[in-house]
Symmetry: C2
């Protein structure tokens, strides 16, 4: 059993009161230079480390935030290298401000966030919630500062960090059109397209696609929607559908991961990219530059996304004014080798 050294031990040995030690430790209150010196030396000698949980009992702050990620949603966690960067961004941002993060995987349908209350977390960052998830209501009931990432929730009171998905999608589609493609398939994910509006990110990207078509005077064709999961396997399967669609010369996939599956599928079918099909992805994973051919994609800075979310959360916690509750990060189109000229150029 490690013998804990407390503020009392320090006070005793330094011959001062615990109040004084507390003042020295926190740099608050007043203390003479000599007292400070003396106390600090004793702290050093004893190897005293302040007990944060105890301090928090008084101050009512834990300097701890929860990062909540749904574990059960298939094709997200397991599949996407994405999350690691996000996490790194959040961790880094928190560290800069002396916060630590508690990582919690939840089952979206049953989680009550009791742990957040029990541990008296200062705030929560929640990733990838669906609008209709009951979890969001429960999270808000906590009365804690919460920031949602990639969730596209209607309620404008909620703090959110998202990507400019619609713009990204618009730019990707426009680029294909500019390259002379007209019939552009879309790998939208494993959802009913008629209810796409409740799938935030996907909906936005779908709208961006339509924006571009409309601008170019191309009719939207529901036949071109491929409803398969945005995963490696989903992309792979999608290649089967793709080749059956007449006159299609390009496909836009809502994630790089599925675009990779797609590339593999097409290669196995002997279809050349970008010769017969132009392919464009979304995310710009670190690996996307290394596919063959290298993947044209919409780039998002995932690290920055994590950082923006912590910033917004911590400002909220510190009671600092928040400029905007809904932060939208910019996207960038990265043209590489999977896109080429279409028949109309």
């Amino acid at each position: 059993m490690k013998q804990e050294v407390s503020i009392v031990d320090v006070a005793k040995k330094a011959g001062v009161s615990i109040a004084t030690v507390s003042n020295v430790v926190n740099g608050k209150g007043r203390a003479s230079a000599s007292t400070i010196q003396k106390v600090q030396r004793v702290i050093e000698e004893l190897g005293y480390t302040p007990n944060l949980p105890a301090r928090n009992l008084k101050t009512r702050r834990t300097d701890l935030i929860g990062l909540v990620v749904p574990t059960m949603e298939p094709g997200r966690l397991q599949d996407n290298p994405f999350y690691w960067d996000l996490l790194a961004g959040v961790e880094e941002g928190a560290r800069d401000r002396k916060f630590h993060i508690i990582l919690a995987g939840i089952d979206e349908s049953t989680e009550t966030f009791a742990f957040a209350k029990e541990r008296r977390l200062d705030g929560l960052i929640i990733v990838g919630m669906n609008e209709r998830s009951q979890a969001i209501g429960r999270a808000m009931e906590l009365g804690l500062p919460v920031v949602f990432i990639d969730s596209y929730l209607q309620d404008s009171e909620l703090y959110q960090v998202n990507l400019d998905d619609r713009m990204g999608s618009y730019r990707a589609t426009s680029y294909l059109i500019a390259q002379g493609h007209r019939r552009i398939a879309l790998l939208v994910g494993d959802i009913p397209v008629d209810r796409i509006s409740s799938y935030g990110v996907l909906h936005e990207r779908w709208l961006g696609y339509k924006d571009a078509l409309e601008e170019a005077g191309i009719a939207y064709d529901p036949q071109l929607m491929i409803k398969l999961p945005t995963s490696l396997e989903g992309g792979y399967q999608a290649s089967n559908r793709l080749v059956e669609l007449p006159d299609v010369t390009a496909i836009f996939s809502f994630s790089d991961i599925s675009a990779m599956g797609l590339l593999k599928g097409l290669r196995e079918k002997g279809k050349s990219v970008p010769g017969e099909y132009s392919v464009i992805g979304f995310d710009n994973l670190f690996i996307s530059e290394y596919t063959s051919p290298s993947l044209t994609t919409v780039s998002q800075n995932i690290l920055e996304k994590g950082q923006a979310a912590v910033r917004m959360l911590l400002d909220q916690i510190d009671g600092q004014p928040i400029e905007e509750r809904r932060k939208i990060l910019p996207v960038d189109l990265i043209v590489r080798e999977t896109t080429g000229r279409g028949p109309f150029l």
Copy 2:
């Protein structure tokens, strides 16, 4: 300001003492069925949630463990999808036992682990330390239970979870030999090969490679060591070196990630795989099945690795007997399409 409801409020409203409430909450001590009922109803009504930090002040346990990952080591964090699975394994294992994890990125050279003491963490899981890192000494000084993952530290007192890297490497190399390859290049990482023994994982894998050669009576040729980072870019560069090595028909890369870079490099040079070169990787990332051709590799169960580490840590914390301080997880050779027959078959 959210009005905190404490044990006192519950006690008052239920007309019992706080001691009784505490008993009910913890299911300890004795209490009549009717009291229990009454108290529980009040808890419900008031929405009371126990304050864990306060409880921990008494019990001297936080039920919190730190997961420590070096942030500064290039080519690890950023590059490797690997970590996400590990994290997921740890989180899940912890959750099962009512622990939470605090994620901390550290700079290996300067970290003092003060946060672990301050927050009174119950234990630490540390990933990917190098033998000569000062951080390991500092971590041990804390006097906390610690488990190292992927660190291969000499000290047999330390708790460690590793992979059977040597065996994995042996099997990969043996397989290539059995397929008729004799001159097998090795992408070992960006390190001086003469000091490889201080790079745990790499050393083990290097030994496994030599084991296989020796068994087959093939002389070890230092010329075949390619010293480039085990990253996408490193693998890509490695292809340049590879093609200059005479008579080499196969290459074993110490990570899938670098194998992917390698595949791209070779393809760009017009070298066929597995026609001209057989390629074998290590890790079996979820994406490795989707490269073209799909990657033959040594598989490790990363999720399981994380789980094993928590289990070992929590048993330590709970004072349960630990069978073995050094847990070695099995590997598996997954033969896919990047390996084919060599000239000697």
